[in-house]
């Protein structure tokens, strides 16, 4: 054990406390003010149920797509020895740090009427903007990279020797992926997918720009909260509390899984 100076310890604790307060106060205030007599009426209102269902179902579909396509991608990225592979890894993860407004403009530029693929999609009779599909696409775009990031780390931390052994025993690459990499990484993949789901559930800015705001079709929970803010702040607070609880659940399961995985023998 290293000797500690009281002054240093005080400084560290003081600085840590500043951030803890900044992070905890808003959430505590939300809990304190969001819990009021009307909570059940707000939570059981048709608009809430509708928005919650839309949020959960679109996030689930987005997550499914991300896992199906993102798992092979992350595996390949982790195994590849190609030049510039780190640059490619960075690019694939970029959307997760993009400002929501940038994500919204980017999605409109790609799939909007005046966007790059707009005319082609129109010819096929497809209009993405204002559709429920637009919510799923936004979620894949902004939350998918979180899964890729987690999966990439998981695959990268698998002992290289296991792959060598598997190959020496004559296993082909698809079989190695299926029988060696996937089972070993599974807990970390589940953890990453929960994190991705939490991010998808909370997506707001880009959704508002790309999918619009129509109850039952594109009004997800965050959009309902934003709309409620215009008329009834108490309602917005209660709805926010609901999302806070959901996010907390997803995050805690995700973190406990990833802790367990990191402590694996």
């Amino acid at each position: 054990m290293k000797p500690r100076l009281p002054l240093q310890s005080w400084t560290l604790h003081g600085m840590a406390l500043v951030l803890v307060l900044m992070l905890m106060l808003p959430m505590l205030a939300l809990i304190a003010q969001g819990l009021h007599g009307d909570i059940l009426r707000v939570l059981l209102a048709p608009a809430t149920v509708q928005a919650l269902w839309l949020s959960l179902s679109t996030s689930a579909v987005a997550l499914l797509l991300v896992v199906i396509f993102g798992t092979p991608l992350s595996y390949l990225l982790s195994r590849s020895k190609a030049p510039f592979i780190e640059k490619i890894q960075t690019l694939v993860q970029l959307p997760v740090v993009l400002p929501p407004a940038v994500a919204g403009v980017a999605l409109l530029s790609a799939f909007g009427q005046k966007g790059m693929l707009g005319p082609a999609l129109d010819a096929l009779g497809l209009r993405i903007v204002f559709s429920t599909a637009a919510i799923v696409m936004t979620a894949v775009f902004v939350a998918g990279p979180l899964y890729v990031q987690g999966a990439l780390n998981a695959f990268s931390s698998i002992d290289e020797e296991l792959f060598l052994v598997a190959r020496s025993m004559g296993a082909k690459s698809l079989r190695i992926f299926w029988k060696v990499a996937l089972p070993l990484a599974r807990p970390a993949l589940v953890s990453a997918s929960l994190l991705c789901a939490a991010r998808a559930l909370g997506e707001f800015g880009a959704t508002l720009m790309f999918a619009g705001n129509l109850p039952g079709k594109t009004q997800t929970m965050p959009l309902l909260i934003y709309t409620a803010m215009e008329s009834d702040f108490a309602q917005a607070r209660t709805l926010s509390l609901l999302l806070l609880v959901l996010s907390a659940l997803l995050l805690s399961v995700s973190l406990s899984l990833s802790r367990k995985w990191r402590a694996r023998p």
């Binding site: 240093q8 400084t11 600085m15 409109l108 909007g112 009427q113 005046k114 209009r127 903007v129 204002f130 619009g212 705001n213 129509l214 109850p215 079709k217 594109t218 934003y226 709309t227 409620a228 803010m229 215009e230 008329s231 702040f233």
Partner: protein, 264 residues
């Protein structure tokens, strides 16, 4: 260690400078987003008439601005897009005086190169993708009134047929305009003043005086203003010929008689 303390001090200074009080010779004006261009011009003109004075303007949806006032923001004057804000500010006990300073009205806008045959309000149900303001914001309320009036006049479930084609309820009039300009929406209701500067990209359809609702914009002088005399002078200036000229340039219509709406 020294470097850390230095960093901490820097952080604190940033925090302090972020909340330094306004200079004494400054007016803080909150204005509805549909007033962006004209109020900016009026602010500059007022500054020229009062050397040394600074007019700080903040634009957002009227509803958002009111929410900020409810949370403790204290502008000197609040220029709202709807007359209901007179009562709402007075309910907060913050209203000193209010005057209607401009009128506006709704128009239907369609992208210029739209192939759908929409040339009058009655054609609106032909548009498969209509975007309107949410009922929580003034533009959405006016739109609802307009559609209800059209429904009474024409029948045949006009309002229902239009509403079934609505694809998004936006939370500010500028977002409605944006969706139409982008070509994502086939039609949308915006204020006449919002069309300014986009005449080349839009087909503007007047609903006609029989159906239309006139949006009245009140100037609200707050009880808490630290500069009540200057604030009152600013309100006079907005109503003066110079102010009205700037408003007209922004597409707003001067009130026929600058009616004074007193606090109840």
């Amino acid at each position: 260690m020294l470097r850390r303390v230095f960093l901490l001090v820097c952080l604190c200074l940033c925090g302090v400078s972020a909340c330094k009080p306004r200079p004494p010779d400054a007016l803080l004006i909150f204005a509805a987003s549909s007033l962006s261009e004209s109020m900016t011009a009026i602010g500059h003109a007022f500054e020229r008439e009062h050397p040394g004075l600074e007019v700080a303007l903040q634009f957002a949806g009227s509803q958002q601005l009111l929410a900020q006032v409810e949370q403790g923001a204290r502008p000197d004057v609040f220029a709202a897009a709807d007359l209901s804000y007179v009562a709402r500010l007075s309910k907060l006990g913050l209203l000193k005086e209010s005057r209607v300073f401009a009128h506006n009205h709704l128009v239907l806008v369609v992208p210029k190169h739209q192939t759908l045959p929409i040339f009058s309000l009655q054609d609106l149900p032909l548009a498969p993708r209509i975007v309107v303001g949410a009922k929580e914001v003034p533009v959405g309320q006016y739109t609802g009134q307009l559609l209800a009036a059209a429904d009474r006049q024409w029948g045949h479930d006009f309002q229902k047929r239009v509403e079934s084609q609505i694809v998004s309820y936006e939370l500010s009039v500028r977002q409605v305009l944006g969706k139409v300009l982008l070509g994502e929406a086939d039609a949308g209701f915006v204020y006449w003043s919002d069309v300014h500067g986009h005449e080349g990209e839009l087909r503007v359809i007047e609903p006609g005086p029989a159906l239309n609702v006139v949006a009245q914009y009140p100037l609200l002088l707050l009880q808490t203003s630290t500069q009540p005399k200057l604030a009152a002078a600013f309100m006079e200036f907005v109503l003066s010929p110079t102010g009205q000229r700037h408003l007209a340039a922004g597409g707003l219509v001067p009130p026929a008689q600058p009616a004074s709406v007193r606090r109840p």
